[in-house]
C-alpha cells in the first residue's frame, strides 16, 4: 500500500499571465525565489520586454470590449474576483508566509485585499456621478463632462506588499474600464501569479489584466516608453525620474503612488479610479 509519505510531491510552476493564458516567459529565463532560510521556494519567470510587448497587444485587443461593458457588469466581475479570493484565503496566507510574512500579518493582508476588491466593486457605478459635471457656459449649449477610460495602464506593483499592493492598483484601473499590464513585486511574486489564477476564474475577459514577473530594473524603461501604453503607475521613488522622462514621449498619464500604506483604509479612494480616466466634455446645442 502506498503511504502518504511515499507520494510524489506536486510542485507548482509559477508562470506569467498574458491574454487569459499562462505561458512561460518567451525568453526562457528564470530566477530563483528564496525563503528567509535561503532555500529555493520556486523558479520565477524573468519576464522580458517581448513578454511586455505581447501583453500590451493583448491589453489593446481587450480594451474595446472591456471599456464598453456596463459599469454594473464590471462591478459584478470585481465582486466575483473577491468571492474567488475569499475561497482561496489559505493558499494566499501560506504563500505570504513562505515569502517571509508572519501568519498574522499575512491573514490581515489577505482579508484587506478581499475587502479592497469589494470596495472598488461598489464604486463601479458611482464614481462617474461624483466626477462628472454639468458646466455653466454662456452660450446656448448644454455642456457636460464625463469620464472615459484612458486605455492601457502599465502598473509597476509595489515591492513590499505582494498581494494588497497588487490588488489595490489593479482594481481601480479595471473598474474604470481600463485594461492593464502589471509587473508583480520582484521580491514577493508568488501571490501575483496565484492572483492571476483567481482572475482567470472570475469572468475577467482574457487580456484585461496581464501579469508579468521579473526584474524592475530591466522592465521599467519598457513600461514607461511603450507608445501604446496610456498611463503608467509606479510605487517607488527610485525610478520616478526615469519614468517621467520616458512617459513624456506620448504624454502618458504618470501616476505616482509612493509611500502608501496599502493595508490601511486610507489607501483606497475613488480618486485612484479617476487617476486613470480622461475627461470628455461635450457641447450640445440647445434651442434659444
Amino acid at each position: 500500500m502506498v503511504t502518504s509519505s511515499a507520494r510524489i510531491p506536486v510542485e507548482k510552476t509559477y508562470k506569467i499571465y498574458i491574454d487569459g493564458k499562462f505561458p512561460r516567459t518567451e525568453s526562457g529565463r528564470y530566477f530563483a525565489l528564496k525563503d528567509g532560510a535561503g532555500a529555493v521556494v520556486a523558479n520565477i519567470c524573468r519576464g522580458s520586454r517581448k513578454d511586455f510587448r505581447n501583453s500590451v497587444v493583448a491589453a489593446r485587443k481587450a480594451f474595446a470590449g472591456w471599456s464598453a461593458t456596463s459599469a454594473y457588469l464590471r462591478g459584478q466581475i470585481l465582486y466575483r474576483i473577491a468571492e474567488m479570493l475569499e475561497g482561496r484565503q489559505d493558499q494566499f496566507v501560506a504563500e505570504l508566509v513562505l515569502q517571509g510574512r508572519s501568519k498574522r500579518s499575512a491573514q490581515k493582508e489577505v482579508l484587506a485585499s478581499i475587502d479592497r476588491l469589494i470596495y472598488y466593486a461598489g464604486w463601479s457605478d458611482k464614481y462617474q456621478q461624483i466626477f462628472s459635471a454639468v458646466n455653466p457656459v454662456s452660450s446656448s449649449h448644454f455642456n457636460f463632462s464625463v469620464l472615459e477610460a484612458t486605455g492601457i495602464v502599465a502598473i509597476l506593483a509595489p515591492d513590499d506588499d505582494g498581494l494588497i499592493g497588487l490588488v489595490s492598483n489593479i482594481a481601480p484601473a479595471i473598474v474604470g474600464g481600463n485594461t492593464c499590464v502589471v509587473l508583480a513585486s520582484e521580491t514577493m511574486p508568488l501571490c501575483a501569479v496565484s492572483f492571476a489564477e483567481v482572475l482567470h476564474a472570475s469572468d475577467v475577459p482574457g487580456g484585461v489584466v496581464n501579469i508579468l514577473t521579473g526584474f524592475k530594473d530591466e522592465l521599467t524603461d519598457q513600461f514607461a516608453s511603450h507608445m501604446d501604453v496610456n498611463a503608467v503607475v509606479y510605487a517607488d521613488h527610485a525610478s520616478a525620474g526615469k519614468i517621467q522622462t520616458k512617459a513624456a514621449d506620448n504624454l502618458k498619464r504618470v501616476v505616482a503612488r509612493t509611500d502608501n500604506k496599502w493595508t490601511a483604509e486610507s489607501a483606497q479612494s475613488p480618486y485612484l479610479i479617476s487617476d486613470t480616466q480622461e475627461v470628455k466634455t461635450t457641447w450640445h446645442p440647445i434651442g434659444s
Binding site: 520586454r49 510587448r53 500590451v56 489593446r60 519598457q222 516608453s225 511603450h226 507608445m227 501604446d228 514621449d249 506620448n250
Partner: protein, 308 residues
C-alpha cells in the same frame, strides 16, 4: 464580338500524375521556418522588402471612391517620417474602382491590380467573367487577380478550369494574371498542388492562395506546397511563376517567416516584387510600426500611423 483564341486543352497535364504531398512533412518543414533567428540588419532589410511586395488591398462591398483614393494616398505616403521607404507594389481593388485608383496614383510607379471573374465566388458564366476582365484592363488595370471555379475543380472538370484560366489570360492582354486557387475551399494539400500545376500550365503569371473571404486563408504549409509546385514547374519548363499569399498575414513577424520560406524554397531570384507579393490590408502598418521601433527603440502604437 472580339475574336477569342480557343485554348488548347491538350496542354493540360495529366493531374493524376502530379506528385502527392506529404502533409506531415510539409507541416513540419513550414514550422521550421518560424524558428530562424533574424538579426537586426537582416530584419530591417526584410521589412523593407516586405513593404515593396505588398498589394495594398481593399475588397469590400462598402468600398467607395473616397475609400479607394485614401488607400492610394496611403500607398504613396506610407509613413513620411521614415526615410528611404520603398513604395508598395500595387493597390488591389474591384474592377469598378480601377479608374479611381489609376487616377489617384497618377504618375507614381505603383500598379493597379483588379480582381475579376466574379470575385470572390467565381460563380458567373464565362462570357461575363471575360467581359469583366477586359473591362478592368481597359480601365487601366496592370494586373488581374482571377478566381478559379472551385466547384468545377472539385468535380474533376479540370479541362473546364484550365480553359477558363487560359481564356482569361488571353483577355488580359498585356496585364499580368494572378490566379487565386482559394485553397481554403480545396480541402487538401494534394488538391492545392494539383490546382497550382493546372493554373501554371494554363498560363498564370502568378498563383495566389486566397481571396481573403474564406477561412483558412494563406497559411505557411499551403504556401509551401505552392512554392514547391512553382519550383518543379520551373525545372520542367524553365518558366518562372510568381507567388502571392493573401489573407491572414497581418503581422510583420509572420511576413518575415514567409520570406524565409521563399528564400529557402525558390531562392533569391524570386525575392523581388516582380515574383512575390503579399495580399494584405493591415500588414503595411505593422511593418511600419516595426521599422519605427527599429529606428527609435520604442514599441509603437497604431494611434500614430495613418489608417489603411
Amino acid at each position: 464580338m472580339t475574336l477569342t483564341v480557343v485554348p488548347d486543352s491538350s496542354l493540360l497535364p495529366d493531374l493524376s500524375k502530379v506528385s502527392q504531398v506529404d502533409e506531415v512533412g510539409v507541416n513540419e518543414r513550414a514550422a521550421r521556418f518560424q524558428t530562424r533567428s533574424i538579426k537586426k540588419e537582416s530584419k530591417i532589410e526584410a521589412l523593407h522588402m516586405i513593404l515593396s511586395m505588398i498589394d495594398l488591398t481593399t475588397l469590400e462591398g462598402q468600398d467607395t471612391s473616397g475609400k479607394v483614393s485614401q488607400l492610394c494616398q496611403k500607398a504613396i505616403h506610407l509613413h513620411n517620417t521614415l526615410p528611404n521607404l520603398p513604395h508598395v507594389a500595387a493597390v488591389c481593388v474591384y474592377p469598378t474602382m480601377v479608374g479611381v485608383a489609376k487616377k489617384a496614383l497618377g504618375d507614381h510607379k505603383i500598379n493597379v491590380a483588379s480582381v475579376a471573374t466574379a470575385f470572390p465566388s467565381g460563380m458567373a458564366p464565362r462570357h461575363i467573367k471575360l467581359e469583366e476582365t477586359r473591362l478592368a484592363v481597359e480601365e487601366g488595370a496592370d494586373e488581374i487577380d482571377m478566381v478559379i471555379s472551385r466547384g468545377a475543380f472539385l468535380q474533376g472538370e479540370y479541362g473546364l478550369v484550365f480553359d477558363e484560366i487560359a481564356a482569361v489570360k488571353e483577355a488580359c492582354g498585356e496585364a499580368h494574371l494572378k490566379v487565386i486557387l482559394e485553397t481554403g475551399e480545396l480541402g487538401t494539400l494534394d488538391r492545392v498542388r494539383r490546382a497550382s500545376v493546372l493554373a501554371m500550365h494554363a498560363g498564370a503569371d502568378f498563383i495566389k492562395t486566397s481571396t481573403g473571404k474564406i477561412q483558412p486563408a494563406a497559411t505557411l504549409p499551403v504556401t509551401l506546397v505552392m512554392l514547391q509546385a512553382i519550383r518543379d514547374y520551373f525545372y520542367d519548363t524553365g518558366r518562372m511563376v510568381g507567388m502571392k499569399p493573401a489573407g491572414g498575414i497581418s503581422t510583420a513577424k509572420l511576413a518575415v517567416h514567409y520570406l524565409v520560406m521563399l528564400r529557402e524554397t525558390l531562392g533569391n531570384a524570386w525575392m523581388t516584387p516582380e515574383w512575390y507579393r503579399f495580399g494584405a490590408s493591415s500588414l503595411a502598418n505593422d511593418v511600419l510600426m516595426q521599422l519605427q521601433k527599429q529606428a527609435t527603440g520604442v514599441y509603437q502604437s497604431a494611434d500614430y500611423f495613418s489608417k489603411d
